[in-house]
């Protein structure tokens, strides 16, 4: 009987997926707080504001991450269709695009540094650009770990319920970090 109860525990997947949704709420509140902080800061003085042109790299990274959302979507479709091979291919593509996004964001930082826009800066509006992108990269990093874990698990012969669950978890998260980036980018553009 004990084993039975434990089995119930292990297969309680729907509530665990729900956990992910709530986590996304918390993450969203975090970014909402940062952007509200930006608004309060900029409102404090006329001299505050981004006052520079945002690096073009942000445009490219936006394209890359949008593309990665599509491959993620294809990966979960493949998982639903029980096509492990295709699922793994698209997962790898998503990871590749995620890494590319990471690198492009870093290149945007180096571009800003070259142009004298430092993190440590008397105009903290510009520091905020680093904070937004940096905190978002942390999420990207977590998302990559999640994707890698899903990929690794799908190469082992785990049951379909669990495979699908793990694909869905990473897909929810990945689409979310995608949307957050678009939110941040639009926010920055509007405040440029």
């Amino acid at each position: 009987m004990m084993a039975q109860i434990q089995k119930e525990d292990r297969y309680n997947l729907a509530p665990k997926k729900f956990n992910m949704w709530i986590f996304i709420f918390t993450s969203f509140m975090f970014f909402a707080a940062l952007t509200s902080g930006f608004i309060v800061y900029v409102g404090g003085s006329k001299a505050h504001g981004i006052n520079i042109k945002l690096p073009d790299a942000f445009m490219y990274s936006t394209g890359v991450i949008l593309l990665s959302s599509i491959t993620m979507f294809l990966a979960s479709n493949a998982a639903k269709a029980l096509d492990r091979g295709k699922q793994q291919f698209y997962l790898m593509a998503t990871i590749f695009l995620g890494v590319a996004f990471f690198i492009i964001q870093l290149s945007a930082w180096s571009y800003m540094i070259k142009n004298g826009v430092y993190f440590s800066n008397p105009n903290a509006s510009q520091s905020f650009i680093y904070v937004f992108t940096g905190m978002h990269l942390l999420h990207i990093f977590a998302g990559l770990l999640l994707l890698a874990n899903t990929l690794w698990r799908s190469t082992r012969s785990i049951e379909q319920v669990k495979n699908l669950y793990s694909v869905q978890m990473s897909s929810i998260f990945w689409h979310f970090v995608d949307i957050i980036w678009i939110y941040l980018y639009v926010f920055l553009l509007l405040n440029q």
Binding site: Q4, N12, N19, T26, L34, V40, F119, A124, M135, S157
Partner: protein, 628 residues
């Protein structure tokens, strides 16, 4: 037990099936994933932290009562923090800061929610365990690490953080600003990050469990108020703690990476010009209080839920206005996000904005008052049983009223300009938050002790504990109102240094002695608690004759809570003293078909078949009567 196979994910599973987990000391008591054990871990850690924080407060109370006296014992105990037997002034500030931090976050947030959410959510909703037992375990251990780091700051050279529990910059942002701004502050921040991670994991689990895993028949409107309160508390935490993370992240950048989010034009020690420009310390206050105000409700709402439950059981009456109680909790939850500005009336905010915050603040008093009236109406003409838990629940209401009233004064911007940062504020929040929440928590401990430990606590010691603490708390905090009205500021080291405040020394001495008495009273609790765990009277299954599901589980804890099938729920939790019923309580698991004589048409709101049966039954009853 074939009944358990109702769950139909009967899929083959190979690798991760290790069969039975053997119960070892380590996985039963230490790294337990069982929610009941985790609840006990939170409770005991919380109580330990509460005693530590209480001792800190006694130390600084002694300083306030005898600012000019030397106590050699103090030097023996505290070493360099009390040179010559007199408390160091920087250490005084550290004591106040850590006392506040521990009490607000570690005791009344983690200790209170952690204990009762873990205990009651699965047991009162008919769930075998949390949505993610593993995350639940992590949440406790993160909390434990946070406690360890926070306390470790007493053992470093310059002592703990000392900028107040609200850690406003610049004191928290400039490591050189004061001794406590250095490593002590860093440890504070690290500890807090662990703490927030712990709270988020816990809160996510609570919300998910409540929304997804309730037993059959347990719709939201059949949940006990304790669970409603814990649910909304978790929602508040999940939405507001991330904002504090954002504030802390920016603070860490200011401290260690030379940014200027919060810092501007600062000169240290009248000569060292700091390189920071353009930052806004007010920004931190916005971010902090956006969490900070919901936080005070995170502290009080579980206490409200627990008291509602305890008062209904011990008045042998349904809670008055169940729906109003739920809606007022929801109202508080929503409103608590739009009142944070009342902590910032004197930051030079636009008076119009101040007016807006004033109005929202006064509006939040409405749901608070609704709850108060409902509690009083629940007591009204009840068959009151004065158990220790009941006394503490009533005490909670008393403190909530007397502390809440002063909130209305403070909520008026014009009055707050005078009262801000005085002892009036200290009196306000120690009554409404400190005392009320602690009393709610103690009510919960006395009430659910039999559920947690299978034994009863001693009632006589409970009464002693209650009366000494109740009287003591009023003696300590009530006089502070008058000090505040006279303009005595909070967080000052020695009032004898100021001509205008010297006269308050006698009051301070009185308060200190009252505090010492209340602290000693807690020993009655500690003894009772520890003694009862091992040698208390064995508890029956349902010692208080209560309706809720937790009392249908066996006294001996088992993993999965119910040996057989999880019971189904048929009614709300407050059918106490229902007219026509056989007993003065009807457990939630009793179907309406077994209680024909006490059913009311109202019980069949969405159930036409049941209603028909009911009217048939009543008409046969009537015709039988006529025959007689």
């Amino acid at each position: 037990m074939s009944t358990l196979t109702v769950h139909d994910h009967v899929v083959s599973h190979h690798e991760e099936d290790h069969g039975h987990h053997k119960a070892t000391f380590l996985n039963t008591y230490v790294f337990s994933m069982d929610h009941k054990m985790i609840a006990k871990q939170f409770l005991i850690t919380g109580i330990a932290m509460a005693f530590i924080a209480m001792m800190l407060s006694i130390l600084f109370r002694i300083q306030l009562a005898y600012p000019d006296k030397a106590f050699p014992l103090m030097e023996t105990l505290l070493g360099r923090f009390a040179p010559g037997g007199r408390l160091d002034s920087n250490f005084y500030l550290a004591l106040v800061t850590i006392h506040g931090t521990i009490m607000v976050f570690f005791v009344l947030t983690a200790g209170l929610s952690g204990t009762f959410a873990n205990l009651l959510i699965p047991l009162q909703l008919g769930v075998r365990d949390m949505a993610s037992p593993f995350m639940n375990m992590l949440s406790y251990w993160f909390f434990f690490i946070a406690c360890g780091i926070m306390l470790s700051s007493f053992f470093i050279q310059k002592g703990p953080a000392s900028g107040g529990w609200t850690i406003y910059p610049p004191l928290s942002a400039l490591p050189k600003a004061m001794p406590g701004s250095g490593l002590g502050m860093t440890l504070w921040l690290i500890s807090m990050i662990f703490f927030i991670a712990s709270q988020l994991m816990a809160g996510i689990n609570y919300v998910s469990t409540i929304l997804n895993m309730r037993t059959k028949g347990m719709d939201l409107w059949k949940m006990p108020l304790s669970v409603w309160a814990l649910f909304l508390t978790a929602v508040l935490g999940v939405l507001s703690f991330p904002v504090l993370v954002a504030g802390v992240v920016l603070l860490v950048f200011d401290r260690s990476f030379g940014t200027s989010f919060y810092l501007s034009e600062i000169v240290l020690n009248s000569s060292q010009v700091q390189p920071f420009e353009g930052g806004s310390p007010i920004l931190f206050q916005h971010l902090f209080w956006f969490l900070g105000h919901p936080e005070v409700y995170i502290v009080i709402m579980p206490a409200m839920g627990i008291s509602s439950e305890v008062m209904s059981v011990n008045s042998r009456k349904p809670i008055f206005g169940y729906h109003a109680m739920v809606y007022s909790l929801i109202g508080i939850t929503v409103l608590s996000f739009i009142v944070w500005g009342h902590h910032m009336f004197v930051t030079g905010m636009n008076p119009f904005l101040g007016g807006v915050f004033m109005i929202t603040t006064l509006i939040i008093a409405v749901p608070s008052a609704v709850k108060t009236f409902n509690w009083l109406a629940t007591l009204w003409r009840g068959n009151i049983r004065f158990t220790s838990a009941m006394l503490f629940a009533i005490g909670m209401v008393s403190f909530f009223i007397s502390g809440g009233l002063t909130g209305i004064f403070l909520g008026n911007a014009a009055l707050d300009i005078n009262l801000h940062d005085t002892y009036f504020v200290v009196a306000h929040f120690h009554l409404v938050m400190g005392s009320a929440a602690i009393f709610g928590m103690l009510a919960g401990v006395y009430h659910w002790f039999p559920k947690m430990f299978g034994r009863m606590m001693n009632e006589r010691l409970g009464y002693l504990h209650f009366w000494l603490t109740f009287i003591g708390a009023y003696l300590v905090f009530f006089p502070m109102h008058f000090m505040g009205l006279d303009g005595v500021p909070r967080r000052y080291y020695a009032f004898t240094e100021f001509e205008s405040m010297k006269q308050w020394l006698s009051v301070n001495t009185f308060i200190t002695w009252a505090a010492i008495m209340s602290a000693l009273a807690q020993l009655a609790f500690l003894f009772n608690f520890v003694h009862s765990i091992f040698w208390g009277k064995k508890a029956p299954q349902n010692p208080w004759n209560a309706n809720t599901l937790e009392w249908t589980t066996p006294v001996e804890h088992i993993h999965g809570n119910w040996p057989g099938e999880i019971p189904t729920v048929y009614r709300w939790p407050y059918d106490y003293s229902k007219p026509g019923a056989e007993h003065d309580f009807i457990p939630q698991t009793t179907p309406l078909s077994e209680t024909m004589s006490s059913n009311l048409p109202h019980d069949f709101e969405d159930n036409p078949i049941g209603l028909e049966e009911h009217s048939k039954w009543t008409s046969t009853q009537k015709s039988n009567e006529e025959v007689k």
